[in-house]
């Protein structure tokens, strides 16, 4: 069975701007891949169209069916890892092999504090509307209706 893995040094996943992400990739594949690609990138998740920014990419040509390689990436100043209600920005290191669909990804955090920045906390009742016990009417209807 094909196997790709990314091991981060000291299992460190929180980084400050301009820190260095270091680790090792390992692969054990049934067939010799043409190449392996290791990328440092960020992407967005949430309601809108996904946006992606690749900051580093290293290609290992004809790497053989198994092996290990050390890597080192220097993080840029930003953007910081953050999450709001509409969008999250997530940093990751990803290893893919060609040909094939095998991919492995390790998420990391980039911020001055080492924690994902949380945006726009809005007070809420702390429960989903369709599970509420409010009497009368459709709870989802009331939420959707109030927004229009």
């Amino acid at each position: 069975m094909d196997r790709l893995s990314i091991v981060l040094n000291e299992d460190k996943t929180a980084f400050a701007p301009r820190d260095t992400v270091q680790g090792t990739i390992e692969w054990n594949l049934e067939k010799n891949p043409r190449c392996l690609d290791l990328s440092l990138f960020w992407y967005t998740a949430g309601k809108g169209t996904r946006d992606v920014g690749v900051t580093e990419n290293v290609r290992f040509e004809e790497p053989g069916s198994y092996g290990t390689k050390a890597f080192s990436f220097t993080l840029p100043d930003g953007p910081y890892s953050f999450s709001g209600k509409l969008i999250s920005l997530i940093w990751a290191v990803e290893l893919t092999c060609t040909p094939g669909s095998e991919t492995v990804r390790r998420e990391i955090v980039l911020s001055p504090t080492g924690h994902e920045v949380l945006l726009g906390e809005v007070p809420s009742e702390g429960r989903l509307p369709w599970s509420s016990n409010r009497a009368g009417g459709n709870p989802l209807e009331s939420i959707l209706g109030a927004r229009r």
Binding site: A45, K47, R50, S83, L86, L128, S131, N138, L140
Partner: protein, 191 residues
């Protein structure tokens, strides 16, 4: 709730593929072959046309058939110079997949339709109304379809009542995409 944790985030929605209601994917592919790969996926907004077009692209790739996908919408129009460039780049061994064919200028459509007869392996389009090419499938939605999709995405410990989904479905006149966007907002407003 963080956007990345929202069960109705776009990337999770995109993982849901087209579900034929009264046919099978294999039958759609057979019919497409019978139509010589010149056909239209017809249906209103949010009925799955683009999703099906992407699924067809994948299926064709697995059969070794090359494709070229173009998305046209209100924010990404296809003016005539871009249309001519697209056609000049399309090769005879490719099928042109044109999402939003009824949004391009009529003169461009005539050009695309004519050019791809001899300079491409096929032309598959999406459109809101029939008539541009032979209809491969009319994409439709039902409240049950919304319920099936929502049940895959929703928080397992707090399912959305079917009657709420029915209300949503009718509010959006069957536009599943808009229903899912509303469900995203509902989740985003609650933790």
């Amino acid at each position: 709730m963080r956007a990345r944790d929202n069960p109705f985030a776009v990337e999770r929605i995109h993982a849901i593929r087209y579900r034929p209601l009264h046919t099978t994917f294999a039958k759609i592919l057979t019919r497409l072959d019978e139509l010589n790969y010149r056909a239209a996926l017809v249906g209103p907004d949010g009925s799955g046309k683009t999703t099906l077009l992407e699924d067809l692209q994948q299926a064709l790739a697995e059969k070794g058939i090359g494709t070229r996908m173009v998305f046209v919408n209100d924010t990404a129009p296809l003016p005539e110079p871009a249309c001519r460039q697209l056609l000049s780049e399309t090769t005879r061994d490719e099928i042109l997949l044109l999402d939003g064919a009824d949004l391009i200028p009529r003169s461009c459509w005539s050009l695309v339709k004519r050019h791809t007869i001899t300079h491409a392996s096929g032309l598959i389009i999406t459109a809101h109304r029939p008539g541009l090419l032979p209809t491969l499938i009319e994409c439709t939605t039902t409240p049950s379809l919304l319920q099936a999709i929502a049940s895959e995405l929703q928080p397992p410990d707090r399912p959305i009542p079917a009657e709420s989904l029915d209300t949503l479905f009718h509010r959006h006149q069957g536009n599943i995409r808009n229903c899912l966007r509303d469900l995203y907002d509902v989740c985003a407003q609650n933790d």
